[in-house]
Point group: C2
Chain length 271, copies 2
């Protein structure tokens, strides 16, 4: 089920700037039994992204009401909230006044096999690199062709994600999740101030594990890490089993963050 500007609908105008220019942003939010433990963080990131893209701030109470309406009685689902700059004439100039398009839609939870949480996920090492764009870095915006091209690099169903670097040889994330590495016993997650998305699950882990460093992380360092794991607000904490031929074992830091994920209120581990 989905709502567009509060109305039950499933299509948007061809003139919507979300379609014309990818002019907008989105959130994907895990719902369990009508609850979204990371809701406040999602709303915080959405407001921050809107401010950076010069979009009007969303009404979070209204979004919550619409989220409840579309997720209904589903035990487990993913909510996608999309905010675009709404209708515009042809051309890049911002429409005045602006009337954003608000799309609130529920989707089935992607199937994540339980063994991925225990034994880890296999990763492809992507050749596609992320461009440095500090003006857009961190924002979960609608310009996602880099991720589409990176994800198109493999079709092996046993590979769940692709490791993506920037153009300087630093790892940034995977195609659809944030990355953590354990280096000399300490957790590290790549900075996302030049590219990448400031993940909500990543933010929750950074708050709970203040010893975690946020910094540039070279691919070489990541490949030598004692642990490698992913954070996703939809899928939680996923150990990495292998990147190409390099094998990792799930370790104590990933286990501790998985434990914290459950303590946040996520009960259903395997969908």
């Amino acid at each position: 089920m989905m709502l567009i500007n509060g109305q039950s609908d499933d299509s948007v105008s061809v003139l919507d700037r979300g379609l014309s220019y990818g002019d907008g942003l989105f959130e994907t939010i895990r719902f369990e039994q009508g609850r979204a433990p990371l809701w406040a963080r999602h709303m915080q990131r959405l407001a921050w992204g809107c401010e950076r893209l010069r979009l009007p701030a969303p009404d979070t109470a209204l979004l919550w009401q619409e989220a409840r309406q579309v997720t209904g009685a589903q035990a487990l689902c993913v909510l996608r909230i999309t905010m675009t700059r709404g209708l515009g004439q042809r051309g890049y100039a911002l429409p005045v006044p602006v009337s954003p398009t608000r799309i609130v839609a529920a989707f089935p939870m992607p199937a994540v096999c339980g063994t991925l949480y225990t034994h880890g996920m296999r990763l492809h090492r992507c050749r596609t690199t992320l461009a440095d764009q500090p003006l857009l870095a961190g924002i979960k915006h609608l310009n996602r062709l880099e991720q589409v091209l990176a994800r198109a690099e493999w079709s092996d169903p046993d590979i769940g994600e692709g490791l993506v670097c920037d153009s300087h040889g630093n790892v940034i994330s995977t195609t659809a999740a944030n990355l953590f590495a354990v280096i000399d016993g300490m957790p590290v997650t790549p900075a996302v101030d030049r590219c990448g998305v400031a993940g909500v699950a990543r933010a929750a882990m950074l708050d709970a594990f203040p010893n975690c460093q946020v910094r540039d992380l070279s691919l070489d360092e990541a490949m030598r890490a004692s642990e490698l794991f992913l954070s996703s607000s939809v899928r939680g904490i996923l150990p990495v089993q292998a990147v190409g031929d390099t094998v990792y074992a799930p370790g104590p830091v990933a286990r501790a963050m998985q434990q914290h994920w459950r303590e946040l209120g996520f009960a259903v581990e395997c969908a």
Copy 2:
């Protein structure tokens, strides 16, 4: 009037990847009295862009038929062709099989005052810079947030365009047109292999003026150029009158390219 996959319609599914990820590309084509002098070049770029984005090649005969249908008897209009990767489930993986969405829509020609062609246009110098992404450079894709942010830097209606650089201090283009400079008597246009769009009017001018250099052009060089002018497949050849406080006079190279533009078959100079 507009056609979506050949049907008269004005909306697309919320699940269209054009909206979800900006996963697609477009062309804007000037039509005069049912004729589009640069049609073949637009089709060439569209096919090239589709290949790079791994989209099925469009049927250009069908596109022409639909273009004629939506432009009808209009004396002067702009046709926008948008191709997206069509419907997809949530997630970046390419849908298999893919069924692209084809949008063909006619818009009124933007008002371009005749004095702009004779006396030139005023430009804002944008602070927004374009990120290097060789995988997407040149393609007129739907990920246009950089252009939206650059265009949002000014609201003065007397300023028609913004000059945009890359992160290394080279000028690349304006927000919605390609750029030419005359340096030591020779025309130069910036390379668009790391960012920017490979404009169709630019390609037509490069073919007609083989002495024109394609290379990196520093902002300093551009600011000292004896002529500065823009090329746009919708608006033609537009001299630059000023970038901020730096003033330029329309010169012989811009005039020669304007003459070539008319010889290509564009008769109506002022809309």
